[in-house]
Symmetry: C2
Subunit: 123 residues, 2 copies
C-alpha cells in the first residue's frame, strides 16, 4: 500500500497561521520519508480536505490517514470532520481512509503540554 | 509571591470542548500543588480572562502566568490575547502578569505530536 498522512487543521486568514503544521510536516518527512505528508484546512485557507485527498488518490495513495490538528472536541471535530471523511470514503471506496482522534485527545501530547507548563511556572 | 497559571483557550458552544484543558489542569494540580491553575476562555464559554484574573487577584495571587492554548498564531494570538493581557496589566499594576507563547509554538509539544503521528502511520 502507498501511505499518506493529512494534517487537517482549522485554517485562518493569516497565512502564517499554518507554520506549526508545516513544522510538523517537515519533522514527519524526515522520520517517515515513505509516507506522503500533506496539509488540508477546514476553512479560510486552501487546500480543502477533499482537494488534498483527490491529489493523493490521483498519485496512487491507497491508505490515507487524516489527523485532526484540533486541541479540543467541538462541533468541527464531532460533526464536520467525520462527515467530510464519510463523504470522501463514498467518493473513494478503494482507499483505506482512517480518521485519528483530535490532537488534544492524545494523552502524550497533553503530557508534553503539562511538562512545558511545569517548567514555565517553576522558572 | 503567590503564583497562578491560567490556561487560556478559545472556547466553544459545547461544554465538552473544555475537557482537554481540564485534563491538563488536573495534571498540573498534581505536579505543582503550590500553583493555582485556572481556566479562561476568549469567547463562547465562561469564565473570561478578566474574570479569572480578578478572582486570582482577589485571593492574593501576585504572579499570574497566562498560557494560550492555541495551536497556531492567528489573529486571536497575535492581537486579541496581547491586547487583553495589556489591559489586565493596566488594571492590576501590582501583579506580575506573564504571557507565554501559544502551545503550538512550543517545539517539545510539536515533537510529541510528531511522535504520536509516526506511531499512528507505522502501526
Amino acid at each position: 500500500m502507498k501511505s499518506a498522512l493529512v494534517l487537517f487543521a482549522h485554517g485562518a486568514r493569516d497565512p502564517e497561521w499554518s507554520v506549526p503544521f508545516r513544522n510538523i510536516q517537515t519533522k514527519l518527512a524526515a522520520r517517515c520519508p515513505e509516507v506522503a505528508v500533506e496539509l488540508a484546512f477546514l476553512e479560510l485557507m486552501p487546500p480543502a480536505l477533499s482537494e488534498t485527498v483527490e491529489r493523493l488518490a490521483a498519485s496512487g495513495h491507497d491508505r490515507i490517514t487524516v489527523a485532526p490538528m484540533f486541541m479540543a472536541q467541538g462541533g468541527h471535530v464531532k460533526r464536520d470532520v467525520p462527515r467530510l471523511v464519510a463523504e470522501l470514503r463514498e467518493c473513494h471506496p478503494h482507499i483505506a481512509l482512517e480518521l485519528l482522534p483530535a490532537v488534544g485527545e492524545v494523552e502524550a501530547v497533553l503530557d508534553a503540554i503539562t511538562d512545558w507548563l511545569v517548567n514555565s511556572v517553576k522558572s
